[in-house]
Subunit: 404 residues, 2 copies
């Protein structure tokens, strides 16, 4: 049995760019290592989830790891919370949250508390406490944004928002949408009432009022989602698994399925990330683990920025950083792909399919010779992201026989 | 967001023809416009419904439009009725019908009333009336054939045929197959009894009897099917949609999902159709609509005729008619494919996959360079017809993001 190294270049897929003479960032990049791995191995095209789906990184990573998002994706709440670096466990109920301003009668004056930029960390700290055996965790994000996580027994996400979704309306009481959610709604309303009091008396808000600024005196919550209780990855696939990622949401998903997350010094999740350090850490990690997923975010960042030159350059630096990757091919199956396309011309995710390559000693070589969106259509595979784990298992001699 | 123009060349796919030196009709056709759209865009192969399915035009058009026929196809009744140009609404129950001859005891003498060719229009007119709040509509087709549509509240298709399916047997009473269908069976039997009387007394039949011909004195019905209540296309996809088609069944399906049908002078659904007029009408329609599906039937007609030269020539004339199609590529996604293959050597539908092309400004270009059954295998897509709408939505920047 071999080990598996799944490299996810976030938002890898592209469309033709005028700045690159009509080529995609990947086609334009000097990428001798990715090309060699393709030429001497197998290529193909992969649709995130299925053809035409325009996926987020959350749904597409779940799918890549073998967890069908149609079954397990429970809305943005838990994944936004993971994105802020919060721990989210199966069964937790999580919400997107706004620090907002309300008047004395609870009428929302500003859903964004004057787009508050400072002090929300401190406010969030004061909002992490327990009520009736349920733990509440709040973390601040960019500006007025944040997330709330509830952890305890018998929770449900079948509850309404406290957020009225527009100014001029009163903050809503949270209501249960079925009998089983009554406890969750009750304890949450109790929590919000205590939270309200704490926010009003908080030094950050007293100071803001002194300065004539809108106080962040209400935490509006919306989009309740219960984190799925997923069969741990090592149980599902019989592999000791780890993740390397510079972005909290991906780390969060990998933790949710029980993977160990490996911290790499200099891995920032940005264009300036230390790719070399990530690959070094990956090789070391593979000595101790059977499976490693490594996400590199830089390609997606450049795509969102609409900067094809930066995307091309990121790919070149990633390629250079994997120059000695062949030394693990003897006992490892390497797979390189993305989670979705982020075309620079679109500055957002698209539903275009992605190139994928597989390599290991002894693998069939096919007609895909370059690693890009065009050459890989000549390869062996025309698959959906949900097929990848099964292919990796069989290439690594780990697949159980179906039948006799 | 871009508009979408889906061109369906009916029965497009072919197999090698001796008359064309072993080429398919598409390979043999001079088709510079289809080839350019392929070369400068994306190609692929599409299976109607899924690999190996040998579909009708009804099931394949439902699938192409994003309505899974496995869920929504309710048998031939409603689609045959649409094929005769009858209006069929969701909830209507429709039947295939035969004008037939019975004796005084109701024993079927001839299921086809001597293959009656004249007067069935008049007979049908006399059979369109209401009973107990249920409207009945009959339309005559070719020879003894026709269709019956029932419209009213609380109808069900869980009923038996009145057609005994062979001569020498008595006309069956219609029976309910479950409790909920009792009303339908009752009102239908009442209707058939009145219809019987009207047919016997009808001048057309009195005349036939004078001439010693078999009277068409019984309407035998079979294959009850309830038209599915489909979510309107504009609700499902958020697009104002229209159809151009020379064949009533396709128009009927498009109407069933709430599309507007555009009439084009000279569009006959035959080999002599005015393709140029259809494309002109299409460009005008696209100024007012977000989505247009245009069916061209000529290719299928030639396939059924087993005439590869006529099929090739039809493709050549269709290609010539789209010579200035590129002017809409800036704000429109164009897709050309078929609904199924109708190989001339088979003179019927086959389950062979079909070429498909996508083009719009900014799209990836792939290795498919010619629009035919062989070159398009080098393209990006290896899909089923049910994937087409999702791909069109994402290429036109209309796809909602799944996840974050």
């Amino acid at each position: 049995m071999k080990k598996i190294f799944l490299i996810v270049l976030d938002g890898l897929g592209d469309r033709p760019n005028d700045e690159l003479k009509g080529r995609t960032a990947l086609q334009a990049a000097y990428r001798p290592n990715m090309n060699r791995l393709t030429r001497e191995g197998q290529g193909g095209m992969m649709h995130p989830v299925s053809p035409g789906y325009r996926t987020g990184s959350d749904t597409s990573h779940l799918s890549l790891l073998g967890y069908d998002p149609e079954k397990f994706y429970t809305g943005r709440g838990p994944f936004e919370a993971m994105g802020l670096g919060m721990t989210v466990l199966g069964g937790d109920v999580a919400f997107r949250a706004n620090f907002s301003t309300v008047d004395q009668d609870g009428v929302v004056l500003d859903r964004r508390a004057g787009r508050i930029t400072e002090g929300t960390d401190k406010l969030a700290q004061s909002l992490s406490f327990s009520v009736d055996g349920v733990e509440f965790f709040v973390k601040a994000g960019v500006e007025h944004r944040g997330a709330l996580v509830m952890r305890g027994k018998g929770l449900s996400d079948l509850i309404t928002d406290s957020d009225p979704h527009e100014a001029g309306q009163k903050v809503h009481e949270v209501k249960a949408l079925d009998e089983k959610a009554k406890f969750t709604a009750e304890v949450l309303n109790k929590y919000l009432s205590i939270a309200r009091k704490r926010l009003r008396e908080h030094e950050v808000n007293l100071q803001r009022e002194k300065e004539g600024k809108a106080p962040a005196n209400e935490l509006l919550i919306r989009g309740a989602g219960q984190a799925p209780s997923l069969t741990p990855f090592h149980e599902l696939f019989g592999m000791k698994a780890a993740s390397i990622s510079g972005i909290p949401m991906i780390t969060g998903i990998c933790r949710l399925v029980g993977m160990e997350s490996i911290n790499v010094e200099g891995a920032t999740g940005r264009l300036d990330s230390n790719f070399r350090a990530k690959f070094e850490a990956a090789y070391k990690t593979l000595e101790k683990f059977d499976f490693l997923i490594m996400n590199i975010k830089a390609t997606d960042v450049a795509g969102h920025d609409g900067d094809p030159v930066a995307k091309r350059d990121a790919i070149q630096r990633i390629d250079a950083a994997m120059k000695d990757i062949d030394h693990i091919l003897g006992d490892t199956v390497i797979c390189i792909t993305g989670d979705h396309s982020t075309p620079c011309t679109m500055m957002d995710h698209s539903g275009d399919p992605l190139p994928i390559l597989f390599n290991t000693h002894g693998i069939r070589k096919d007609n895909a010779v370059l690693f890009d969106e065009i050459s890989c259509t000549k390869g062996t595979y025309h698959i959906n992201s949900g097929d990848v784990m099964k292919i990796l298992l069989q290439l690594s001699d780990r697949a159980e026989k179906y039948g006799a």
